[in-house]
Amino acid sequence: MTRDAIRDLILEIIEDIDEDADFDTLEADKPLRDQLDLDSMDFLDIVMELRKRHKLQIPEEDYPELATLDSCVNYLEPLLADA
């Protein structure tokens, strides 16, 4: 999966969680939690959805890697290389 495709995947999952999420002003290097109305339960939803769609197992200690859109892409790129 390309970096752009991973980015779209994350945004798509977030949109499913919160259809009112506004991506227009989203800064990729700033925490998603501060910019969108996401809480720790929402991040759990992202983890569950990634497992469902791509059989990805993200251990709890790696959850902080999902903090920003950029860090999500960096973390997932090697994991989704063959997807």
Binding site: I17, D39, M41, L44, V47, M48, R51, K52, K55, Q57
Partner: protein, 469 residues
């Protein structure tokens, strides 16, 4: 609708034991993920402590006293929009005690205003306190107690301590000596937007949840007490219920954590190291309640939705649990609570200790229950003059009642103290495929805590099941 036990299959992906809000949510999430799920409930009704009962035309809610706004998002994401749309705000929260009397919407804006104008606390202190509790996480350092937190921001102000602590003690059984994070997380949740309730009552919520579970394909059986969880070579094999063995790759126990370990899986299923920690888990306190039904043609004007009342000079966690406590809450249910059901009911709740009630003889027990009812009526008179003449039903529940209906160890109403969380979350690392969901660690309790924890545990189950595929 629940099916007869004879219709259960011999094998499921997941068996959920118990149908409290945590168990219901886990069952729903796992079925939604595509697993074949069986839900077994000991009682005749689903819901666990999220329950209700009917007397003489009245419907009494046992644990519907108010939850935080977070419930809206949680119900939308993990149940459905219809459930979410029934959530409404309770705007009149009343405090009445020898130190202060006030009415509040119980949110940050109104609390800030009250703390400034009524309690004369500088705004900078209030803001700093709110910022501090809002930033708390469950994995933070837990050495600081709530008492120490209060003394840091509001030293010597027992009135402020009472305002901040009393409602949370009723919400999750925490005391001034529990870790400050257990207080801060729950208090912040409420302060977000105030207190909310479920229009239509607990019966409507559980009915809606049952419909959703059936839509997702969960098989539900009530009146089914699981006798044991079968563990072989460190892994879950299934459950035994009414003499039948039902195989399952995972078992989610929504029975209390202490029950799960001691009475369902058995101590032998666990290592000594694990048991050493598990034996240190303290269960939380229990409750007493008095259920009061108002005559159909009586009714009364608005006296508030939730009243925190006390005649004790100062707040004390011990006084709150005393057999003859002078502190209680009144949850008032108006016809608007259950549109179409034109009744007023009142539920008085007190915190209580199981040990104070367990030793009574039948005669003493009856006397103490009657005295509890009389004390409650006397207290209610302050807020509803002539209450005695207006009622046509009154009865009491004690820690023994809670124990009988829920099987909770020592009738606990709020699960375990903080250390229970770690045991609950890691039990599947000890016995493969064995999970626990339910009130633990103070923070994972209450309606919102229980539902969210149901989601957290389903995530663990899903990860386990997929890694074993």
């Amino acid at each position: 609708m629940p099916v007869s036990f004879s219709q259960t299959a011999d094998q499921y992906d997941v068996v959920v034991i118990g149908s409290g809000l945590g168990g219901l949510t886990s069952a729903n999430r796992l079925a939604y993920c595509g697993y074949k799920v069986l839900l077994l409930e000991y009682h005749s009704q689903l819901g666990g402590l999220a329950t209700w009962f009917k007397r003489k035309g009245h419907i009494f809610d046992v644990s519907l006293h108010g939850f935080p706004y977070g419930m809206v998002k949680t119900c939308k994401k993990y149940w459905n929009r219809e459930i979410m749309n029934s959530i409404v705000q309770l705007k009149n929260i009343i405090f009445d005690n020898p130190q202060f009397q006030l009415k509040t919407t119980f949110d940050r804006v109104d609390f800030t205003e009250k703390l400034i104008s009524y309690f004369k606390i500088p705004k900078t202190t209030i803001d700093a306190f709110f910022a501090r509790v809002a930033g708390m996480n469950f994995y933070d350092d837990q050495s600081m107690t709530t008492r120490e937190l209060f003394n840091e921001y509001f030293p010597g102000r027992s009135d402020v301590h009472r305002l901040l602590m009393e409602p949370i003690s009723y919400a999750n059984g925490s005391t001034l000596d529990d870790p400050a994070i257990t207080y801060g997380i729950v208090f912040s949740n409420f302060m977000n937007k105030g207190v909310f309730t479920f229009e239509g009552g607990t019966d409507k919520l559980i009915k809606m949840m049952t419909v959703e579970l059936e839509k997702c394909g969960v098989t539900i059986c009530t009146n089914c007490k699981v006798d044991r969880i079968i563990v072989e070579q460190g892994k879950v094999k299934g459950v035994e219920c009414r003499g039948k063995v039902i195989a399952a790759k995972s078992v989610v126990s929504n029975s209390g954590i202490t029950n799960t370990i001691h009475n369902l899986a058995g101590r032998d299923a666990f290592s000594d190291t694990f048991m050493e920690k598990a034996d240190k888990v303290r269960v939380n306190n229990s409750s007493c309640q008095v259920y009061i039904g108002i005559k159909e043609d009586e009714g009364f004007d608005d006296i508030g939705d939730l009243l925190f009342t006390s005649k004790a000079a100062e707040f004390s966690s011990t006084e709150l649990c005393d057999l003859h406590t002078k502190s209680k809450t009144f949850s008032v249910y108006y016809p608007k609570t259950r549109p179409g059901h034109n009744r007023h009911t009142i539920v008085a709740s007190m915190n209580a200790n199981y040990k104070d009630w367990e030793a009574f003889s039948d005669e003493q027990y009856g006397q103490e229950k009657e005295s509890l009812i009389q004390r409650t009526l006397l207290d209610l008179e302050r807020y509803l003059p002539g209450a005695k003449e207006k009622i046509d039903w009154i009865e009491a529940a004690t820690p023994r009642t809670f124990n009988r209906y829920t099987l909770h160890t020592r009738g606990t109403s709020f699960g375990t103290k903080f250390e229970g969380l770690d045991i609950s979350r890691n039990i599947f690392k000890e016995v493969g495929g064995l999970f626990h969901v339910g009130s633990v660690g103070i923070i994972m309790s209450g309606w919102l805590g229980a539902i969210n924890y149901g989601v957290i545990v389903s995530n663990d189950v899903d990860a386990y099941m997929r890694s074993n595929d």
